[in-house]
Symmetry: C2
Subunit: 528 residues, 2 copies
């Protein structure tokens, strides 16, 4: 067996550089040490050589663990995945009929949705920029459908929106009217010669042309008077209803400004939120299921990691079977540990004090979601909203998101809230029943049919979920400087992987790309 | 049998009012005559009474004919639909393996796409605003999927785009940079006190706040310096790649203005183009098929209408069987004629001269489309474009549209052009093979893999298609005034319906809503 030789000098240097905090120096030296593997974002690394005869134990069957095990397996490594839960996926979970969740210190929940109804209470979106996630969906032929992440037809509802408070505004109204008023203002600055020193006459003419189009300004007086994109009061139709329909009146500029709603919508969605966004048909857990069926018996479920020890030439993991209580021991040449840092810091390890401190330095995000099965898709039938997010400042709600599938069917599961930080902490103290009431009381302010249509709920507070203890790693700038490079380097025969070791925290792509990187690192070290 | 009493006085009045051209007077009087049935846009009319014992012949099994037959059937009328084609749907067609089309005077085409591949060469989009179309999809449980009608990740490619010519720009780049530059300009007008007379200090502060967000302006100097929404040069990933990725440089404001690309994208999609847009899974013809299976034997195919005659108490239709050549005669109490006006004007009728003139007054749009089966989804694999439209000024192309289904599968059918007017006329003169070459020569300028991936094509020039003779009715303002109300009134026992009798021409919703209106009119007259 080849000896892995983690240069003590190198690790010492890393700790020192981290303490000094010079990240340019640090990154330069990591490159010099061969740690600066270029991040792969679209396809897994293509590696020479073989892992035959070497065993890797992977801790955790979330996306990072599954990816690492799958790719290492392809390289010829003997792989064993230890997963504490009875299923694969980690935080990538889909709640459907009979799915069980027992939050720490909370009531047990068993999902009572109808067959075919579900909520992705973990990751729920695959952006087109996350080619790594799409890569496996393609490899494993996981059918995808569009996840409607942007819907200008959905409502914005503000309790504290000044003159526009407590109104159901459509996103398109806000967008159209803000753009219209702003275009009018700038167009009049042009014609009033306020921009003569900044723009040539040609550019002014071209700008006016653009503004007329962008703001749908009146060709004559350059005023914004509404547009069909903000919606008609009456739609055009057959017979004698005229083609222009009945136009609806724009919201006043001052009201829009005072309500601060312009910021709700941007013409441009930032990375990685822009369309086209996807979701697997039938639930996000289709992806870990596809991995798991390929890994088969190499995943051991109910296997809770109790202790991690490293010798000179092997790693030893003590495991408790959560079903039988039986204890056992697994040894391997290397270990890829994908356990969230929030959990790892409570496991008995022989990591160095510096490494343990780095693990402890990373806070995890409190995150909560609730799925509400509705007996009638009132948002489609009554409001003609198909998918997307209803944005609101209703305390603790943040968004009410509507399902992007099962179009026009009878029932559907609405995401009743999706909150972080203090909101998540507060609501997580409630029982499942109280959370439901909390969500209904808010939702019915926006949708009259909300409470009457409600049938059953399923909620999660990720910071209270065993083996997760948080939604995702929430790096501080300080921890990125000090802890990140240390964790990235791993310790001796143990490498870490997961969304926490990426700049895509909270996304499956972060977990996958981190695994890709660590597979490459492990293989290089093992082949050295 | 009840006698239908179309008041001669009324019709005479209509002709006279149309001649005078006073549409307000006309509409007022039509209301007075009970013709002003409110347009229904969401659900079919709920009518009292029964049509039992009365027979209606419906000419044409397009969406209007199918809707009329289905709704009249529900009311108890005996319904017979005469359809010249061997299938229902009219212009709502889906070309898949073995679909045949023989344009007038052209080469016969038989679609050679792989099983599972198709192109909707007629209607291809169902906007959320078209609740009437969605109504039947819901009633008939036609599975829908999102049709990606807006995709900021798709390219804009201009041959004649000044300084930005012959570049593959992403929609998001153009949007982000135009919004950024414009926001910067207006923000600096605010801070330069150019708007002090127009806005209060409070509103100026709120506007600045909005502009910083909308334009992603630098908080310090209010300059636009790019944003993640326009795309990174390198995406953020795992390992040491920093979170912000590598930013990409904005396009210069002057170049954007000179290229006139700002107008390509609007922050607001006008009615009815905004998301969420749908398509039936597997092809648009799922909708007429659903109607047809419910109407069953009441649709007679291969039934070409040769002659329309009206007596005092019945309508007589002479029919030629296009398969056998046999002639036959159908009589009914009423007729709903949904034959496009472009075709109806060549049929032998005993309509009054005024009615015939009205039928002739409406021009039809030349429209062409081509579907290109590609052996590899290079637009997804190489360019990460998932659905949506590549906009271009390449002569005769207009748009290259990418399929909104079969995500990440091997093959797909691209819409190679979608053109109207002169472009459509010119390209329609080509053979199918020449059209394919025309489309490939353009497409390969944008996508290097375009020609090499091409496998087979299917094209249509709607103005050359028998029984259609055009894409849709293209009303002139003059014809709307003169011919429209006359056609809307029908003549004696014959009522007309179709997209041409709506303000939603070219849309299935227009056909459906027109049928709803004429069903109501017919039932009221028949019950009178």
């Amino acid at each position: 067996m080849k000896r892995l030789t983690p240069s003590l000098t190198r690790r010492e240097f890393l700790y020192r550089a981290a303490a000094v905090g010079g990240s340019a120096l640090l990154m330069g030296s990591m490159n010099a040490w061969g740690m600066g593997i270029a991040s792969r974002t679209t396809t897994p690394p293509v590696l020479a050589g073989s892992g035959k005869g070497k065993k890797v134990v992977v801790l955790g069957a979330g996306l990072a663990g599954l990816t690492a095990a799958y790719e290492l397996g392809k390289l010829g490594y003997e792989v064993q995945v230890l997963e504490a839960r009875p299923y694969a996926g980690g935080r990538c979970q889909t709640a459907r009929k009979d799915f069980k969740l027992h939050e720490l210190g909370g009531e047990a929940q068993q999902c009572r949705f109808d067959v075919g109804q579900y909520i992705n209470h973990g990751p729920w979106r695959i952006p087109l920029d996350h080619q790594s996630t799409l890569y496996y969906a393609r490899q494993f032929k996981v059918p995808l459908e569009v996840m409607v992440n942007e819907n200008d037809h959905a409502y914005v509802y503000l309790e504290d929106g000044g003159p526009l408070s407590k109104q159901r505004l459509r996103g398109a109204q806000i967008k159209a009217d803000m753009r219209g008023h702003v275009a009018e203002l700038l167009a009049k600055s042009v014609t009033g010669h306020a921009l003569d020193t900044q723009l040539t006459g040609d550019d002014q003419r071209l700008l006016l042309d653009y503004l007329k189009h962008e703001g749908a300004l009146d060709a004559g007086d350059l005023a914004y008077k509404g547009r069909s994109g903000r919606g008609f009061a009456t739609n055009p139709g057959a017979g004698l209803v005229p083609g222009a329909g009945t136009p609806s009146d724009p919201l006043a500029f001052h009201d829009l400004l005072a309500a601060r709603v312009g910021k709700v919508y941007s013409a441009v969605q930032e990375f990685p939120m822009h369309a086209t966004m996807f979701q697997p048909v039938g639930g996000m857990d289709a992806i870990p299921r596809a991995f798991a069926s390929r890994l088969g018996g190499r995943i051991r479920y109910h296997a809770e990691v109790q202790r991690i020890r490293q010798g000179d030439d092997k790693v030893t993991i003590d495991v408790r079977d959560t079903a039988s209580g039986a204890l056992s021991r697994v040894t391997a040449d290397y270990c890829v540990c994908t356990v969230p840092l929030s959990v790892l810091r409570m496991i008995d390890t022989d990591f160095s004090d510096g490494f343990k401190a780095a693990i402890k330095a990373v806070p995890y995000a409190p995150v909560g979601k609730i799925g509400l099965q509705m007996g009638r898709r009132f948002w489609e039938e009554d409001d003609h909203i198909y998918g997307g997010h209803v944005l609101t400042d209703l305390k603790g709600i943040n968004t009410i998101s509507l399902p992007s599938g099962g179009w026009q069917q009878k029932k559907g599961v609405v995401l009743g809230y999706y909150h972080y930080a203090l909101d998540a902490i507060e609501v997580s103290g409630m029982t499942p029943g109280e959370r439901t009431e909390f969500a209904l009381a808010a939702g019915e302010k926006i949708f009259p049919a909300y409470r009457a249509s409600y049938e059953s709920s399923f909620s999660v507070a990720w910071h209270r979920v065993q083996y997760s203890l948080g939604g995702w790693a929430e790096w501080t700038d300080a921890a990125r400087k000090s802890a990140y490079p240390i964790l990235l380097d791993g310790e001796r025969r143990v490498l870490l992987a997961g969304e926490h070791l990426s700049y895509l925290t909270g996304w499956q792509a972060g977990a996958i790309e981190s695994a890709w990187q660590q597979v490459e690192t492990l293989h290089r070290r093992a082949s050295a």
